[in-house]
């Protein structure tokens, strides 16, 4: 299947892939609103690792054919779509971080925020939400946002062997 492959030799550590990812996964799809106004603020599902100067690479989910995150998930929230993408069902996810522990790419982030409201049994104000957050290959787009945003064409959205 097609996924996003980085090419470290041409990465400039500009982090525009992260910006594009946050914007795409925001409610407003507007960068400024996503960063400044939206609560919870969306997380980038790709992470630019860097040793300054000279080395950087954007790491995100490989949508592994034999995915350790799926087998580690205790709720069934982490699952594979018929098209091959590995995605989180946020309704089922409880934020146990078993997938964080299992992913050999460290490509799953902990998304934690507080909301007003009550637990299932009427307990507690300001409920803490914990969700796993990872690359979904931008299902609403033909090319993932990070790939399109990269000014140096570092990110390749393609099929490889």
């Amino acid at each position: 299947m097609k996924i996003v492959y980085p090419k470290e030799e041409v990465c400039m550590a500009c982090r525009l892939c992260e910006v594009a990812c946050i914007t795409e996964h925001s409610r407003s799809k507007d960068t400024i609103k996503a960063y400044k106004k939206e609560k919870p603020a969306p997380l980038s599902r790709t992470l630019v690792e860097e040793i300054f100067p000279g080395l950087s690479v954007s790491v995100n989910c490989r949508h592994c054919s034999d995915a350790p995150c799926i087998e580690a998930c205790i709720t069934g929230a982490m699952h594979r779509k018929p098209d091959g993408r590995v995605v989180v069902n946020e309704y089922k996810c409880v934020g146990c971080w078993m997938c964080v522990m299992a992913c050999p790419f460290g490509a799953i982030k902990r998304n934690q925020y507080k909301i007003e409201g009550q637990g299932a049994r009427g307990k507690g104000q300001g409920l803490k939400i914990k969700l796993s957050s990872k690359c979904d290959l931008c299902p609403d787009r033909s090319i993932p946002a990070c790939v399109e945003a990269c000014p140096n064409r570092v990110m390749a959205y393609e099929e490889r062997n």
Partner: protein, 431 residues
């Protein structure tokens, strides 16, 4: 060809799905001693805490069995297996034929012979029913002078994984909790002393009484109802609820006469097949390879149960899969202190090298344990858990870390620290 699966959790479902990949038509039967369709046992503490509703307990959706053409027998215990006649015996004397059998009966709580353990309001904490019973108690207002219902105070015996989950669940619904642990630290099997202390301090800050290096020797009562415990040092604690959470042992009691070889768990080969041809075992009940120690042992964790089940299922239905082994790993969070640990966390003997970053004041701790320049264990507490999986991968692949071991403790340790060839191999190829 008729497939029979005893059990209905991670290993059983992994197997059923693998069988259905290879064989769409032949009968698959799942037997469970619980009335529920497949749900996630680790979620019972979330149910107790009110963090999930019942509809979020299920691991697969309602139509799972129908869509996969799986027959189910629920709420029935298997009392034996006749490997000569190839039949499983049910508690109601019915016999179910099979050609291929998977035993995926998981673990059963270990209950030591504590005096008074048969009293009411004494529970173990591994199944939905346990959570249901405790929820009933904690949500019913008191209706007798003895305080039945309206639980105010609980004693949890055992501060391991299950004990901590029980503590968390009870604490979340406003029950006052004391936890009593035989070892000198909480989570002593998963963490080391320094990491345990961070968790313990957080528990105490939350108002939980933690008693270590001690044990409950008696559960006292008023009539048949538990009303307190007595500790080894004669200390008495009043309570209305006792949860015994010492650990689980492989659930193999019903196989005693079967001829299936059992050591600590059911002994399996790399195909997950037992000493009896056509009979397989997977999950918490099985004794499979630990790749770090090279020993065979039960490692009762969800991901390995899922994987072993899938491998057994494939082999049962004509496939040729090999279980390469696994190692213990756990992610557990007492509110405010997430911890992830894996492999050897308490190294004993020669040849180990530890890298430690102890920032306990801020609730963060990281320890990486090496042997022969390979990672064999890790303990991560607090924010350091974020990219724990990279370490899991390095352990699994037994990657030599000589070239970058001084970077392992970095907050931002990642692929940029790996040798270029290895990094490109991982990030630029299909996985």
């Amino acid at each position: 060809m008729k497939y029979l699966i005893i059990g209905n959790s991670a290993a059983a479902i992994g197997a059923a799905e693998a069988i259905r990949k290879n064989d769409k038509g032949n009968p698959v039967i799942i037997i469970s001693d619980e009335p529920h369709r497949v749900y996630s046992r680790p979620l019972i503490s979330y149910l107790l805490a009110g963090l999930v509703t019942e509809d979020r307990m299920y691991y697969r959706d309602e139509n799972f069995y129908k869509d996969n053409n799986i027959e189910t027998i629920f709420d029935k215990r298997v009392t034996g297996v006749d490997v000569k006649k190839r039949q499983a015996l049910l508690e109601d004397k019915k016999r179910i034929d099979y050609d291929r059998l998977l035993i995926a009966t998981g673990g059963t709580p270990f209950v030591p012979p504590i005096k008074g353990k048969e009293r009411k309001n004494v529970y173990t904490f591994t199944k939905w029913k346990d959570a249901e019973n405790i929820i009933k108690l904690t949500t019913t207002p008191p209706f007798t002078k003895e305080g039945r219902g309206g639980i105010k105070k609980a004693v949890v015996i055992g501060a391991g994984m299950i004990g901590i989950k029980a503590v968390e669940g009870l604490h979340a619904v406003g029950v006052d909790v004391t936890v009593v642990e035989l070892a000198s630290e909480v989570l002593s099997r998963a963490l080391d002393k320094d990491a345990s202390r961070i968790v313990q301090r957080r528990m105490e800050d939350a108002g939980i009484e933690v008693i270590t290096s001690n044990e409950v020797i008696e559960i006292t009562g008023r009539g048949d109802l538990a009303s307190g415990v007595v500790l080894r040092d004669k200390k008495k604690i009043k309570c209305d609820l006792v949860i015994i959470a010492i650990g689980v042992i492989p659930n193999t009691g019903f196989l005693k006469e079967s001829g299936i070889k059992i050591n600590r768990g059911i002994v399996v080969d790399e195909k997950m097949e037992t000493n009896i041809k056509g009979v397989y075992a997977a999950g918490d009940v099985a004794e499979a390879l630990n790749i770090i120690t090279g020993e065979k042992m039960p490692i009762p964790i969800w991901p390995l149960a899922q994987r072993q089940g899938a491998i057994a299922g494939d082999n049962m239905s004509g496939g040729d899969s090999v279980y390469k082994g696994g190692f213990p790993m756990n992610s557990i969070e007492f509110p405010g202190v997430p911890t992830i640990s894996m492999g050897i966390t308490d190294p004993r003997g020669e040849g180990y090298e530890s890298f430690i970053k102890n920032d306990s004041a801020n609730g963060n701790y990281k320890r990486i344990i090496l042997k022969d320049n390979k990672i064999v264990g890790a303990i991560l507490v607090g924010d350091d858990i974020d990219r724990a999986g990279i370490l899991t991968g390095l352990i699994k692949e037994q990657t030599p870390v000589t070239a970058f071991k001084d970077k392992l403790l970095d907050r931002n340790f990642g692929f940029v620290h790996l040798p270029k060839d290895l990094r490109k191999e991982k990030l630029e190829k299909m996985v």
